[in-house]
Amino acid sequence: MHALSAIWALGRVTLKGGLRDRLIQSLLLAGLLFLLSTLVFSNFSMRQPLEVAINYSLATVQILAILITLFLGLNLLSREIESRAGYLVMGQPVSRSAYLLGKYCGLALLCLVVVGFLGLCAAGGIVLVRLGLAEAPAIAWANFSLALAGILAIALLLGAVTLLFTALATSAVLPFLMTIGVWFIGQSTQAVKNYLDAGLGGQETPPLLGWLVTGSYYLFPNLSLFDFKAYAIYSLSLPLQQAAYALAYGALYILLLLLLATTLFRQRDMT
């Protein structure tokens, strides 16, 4: 079997399996309800109900997309490998790398479906809010799409992180917890680095803390790079340079993680 077609076939199977997952279905339903609540949430704003609606919707999409990615990673990658269900496929002439890449391909497709679905729901909620306003600024849909793309990139990156930890760990829960850790750190490194660089701490930074922060900044994925929500909320001019940089950074980081994961998975003792 050609490696690419094997990856694609595995990807499709993973996608179907993911869509049948009860947990994912209930999370999507909760997301839909959350997004309907945009109408209520934005109502309390004094000056910027539309901005609040976009803000709330995108934050909800981001939180749900990340949670769904984490659970998908747990159910479709870690648990399957732990339960050795993958043996059935690996008995076929499919390399371990192709198996792992196929699973990631499926996870990525699921992330795309989830972000796309939640994004559409969010857009619906925002349009409803706008219809209820006498005077409202135009919605910058290009910026909104960019913000969704940023959320998708975070989900894909965290999916790749789960894959790497799954290739390493023997327990299913460990990769899940470690990915949560990477998510927390990835969201924080930029802010902490900016804080220390600007000398806002008031005191001189201890060298150990400085190294730790700088080390984390380069080692962990910098998820703040993919945050384009403010551009969508306040219809700021599109940050094309930053978007291109984030795209290159995200693609390289994911490729590196996949390379590491497949290398480690190939050498892993599966008996």
Binding site: R47, Q48, V52, N55, A191, Y195, L223, K229, Y234
Partner: protein, 289 residues
Amino acid sequence: MKRLLAGLILAGLLAGLLALPPSLSGKGLAPLRFPSYPPSLALELMSLGNRELASTLIFYNAQFYFGEKYAWRKEAPEFQQLFLGLDKATDLDPRNMDCYYFAQGILSDLKPAIPVLNRLLEKGMRNRPNDWYLPFFLSANHYFQLNDPVTASRYLQKAAAINPDNAIFASLSARMLYQGNQTEAAIAYLEEFIKETNNPSVRKLLLKRLQALAAIRYLEKAVQAFREQRGEAPAGLTELLQAGIIKKLPSDPYGGTFALDSDGRIVTTSNLAEAWRKNDKRDHDQQAQ
């Protein structure tokens, strides 16, 4: 059937408990305090990439707290805590206009709060450069609370530059500058502003104000000439006529009469009042929107 009946009885009892007065249900017994939020960096880290949402949530909390404390419980709100919360909310999302608007609404009457409130509004101006409300608020604070008409007028000019079709800023600014004894600057500003204004009714209003300021400037120059000739200020404007420095007193387009006050400044009985009334109404309408 029995289960349904039991369910209905339980639901009815629960509804009864909820309907009890606050003193019995326990609600309202605990003192209502506005939370002391952790430093902005900690809030940013806790928001996990959703700074804007965290900012909105702090603002909502401030708004609900103020509503319950001030309007419902009729207690004095903790203004300083509220300010600190709003300051942190604007650290998280410096474009959150709700925070600036709310802060101005609740703090602008408190003189001791004005320096920090103005710093907050300055933060807003840096991050919302196209929002005329912020320089407008700053202008009001400088004019009414800090008695600084020159700075107030400078902020109004910034508001006018953002929204040139709104005559209120130019009119107010010109008046503030006039009271701050900066007539020349007021005229220059108005002339520049008129050039940028294509709305005919606004233009008409501005030209009227310009005419009034030009008359005031004309009289100020005449007083100056009188001082140079006689070495002392005139006792009244009629002395300028008697000395032959001016041939007749200019008329006030607002219907008042020009006079000289005890400080030697030109004043008018109209106090440019027509425009003030109009502007007050427009201000009110705009705030109400």
